[in-house]
Symmetry: C2
Subunit: 140 residues, 2 copies
DNA sequence: GCAGAGGTTAGACAGAGTCCAATTCTTATC
DNA sequence: GATAAGAATTGGACTCTGTCTAACCTCTGC
């Protein structure tokens, strides 16, 4: 996991480290995701980035989020139709999604196991797999 | 689980048994779902129902699928934004979704366990919970 | 500092799903 | 079988995410 320095200068280095040219817009989008350390939708990212001055277009936000997902900087969490969130925590973990409140809760990957799968020994779900458990009420 | 008689007459009875007024359109939608016993999208249901003669509107298909989900007749399987499927198999089970091929595979509910949750003893996920595991390649 | 690849942009577009007011159907009652 | 009232259906306009495009801008290596 990356360190906790969310300065623009450090974020630029993080992007370079992932082979991503650090432009203004990309740094602002990374800052929005990492400084909040929350599950954000594309729309929320767009709003945060343009809070003070409109400086980033919708197309760029979508392009950049896609790029970040491809390079492993953030994860995509799909919880509902037209509710895609981007999660800056790329440690192996999964999610509860409360279909009543819309709340998302992280679950340790080690807590989810699927029997009978050689690729996925019980007690550990392979990294990169995305387990979304939709519940009626958040269970902490 | 309901029996395997998918005649219109029997489907009408099944709908009544769930407190649903059996209209022509609803019976046709139920027939599409149960006779195929497959994961269908709203769009696919609309196409199947109007195969011979256009007789059911988009609004009705959406209304009816929502109604069926609420009354427990089918399950909603959300695999991707703008990829929602309706599953006539309401037995407790979960899904693998192959993000490369789009293929959906059923998994026995008993094979998925989440440790540390009193409501969900290991080895069995509570009915009504919906576990969607997104993988890169279908694992049978 | 230049060239050019790569990044950004506004706005048009696409597809899934929702909403609405008018119309049609179902069903309970007679 | 006719009737009335509530329930269901309809088409079309609308919304919301997300994609695409073609022109323009910016970053980087030389």
């Amino acid at each position: 996991m990356m360190n906790t320095d969310y300065s623009r200068a450090n974020l630029a280095e993080v992007l370079r480290g992932h082979g991503i040219t650090p432009t203004h817009q990309r740094i602002e989008i990374a800052h929005a995701l990492f400084s909040k350390m929350a599950h954000l939708s594309a729309d929320q990212v767009l709003a945060i980035v343009n809070e003070r001055h409109a400086e980033t277009s919708k197309a760029t936000v979508y392009n950049t989020l896609k790029l970040f997902v491809e390079s492993g900087l953030v994860r995509e969490v799909i919880v509902d139709p037209s509710k895609v969130f981007f999660d800056p925590n790329t440690d192996p973990h999964h999610h509860f999604y409360d279909i009543e409140t819309g709340e998302i809760t992280d679950i340790d990957a080690a807590k989810v196991s699927i029997a009978g799968l050689p690729e996925l020994p019980p007690g550990k779900v392979a990294a990169g797999m995305d387990v979304i458990i939709r519940v009626k009420r958040a269970i902490a």
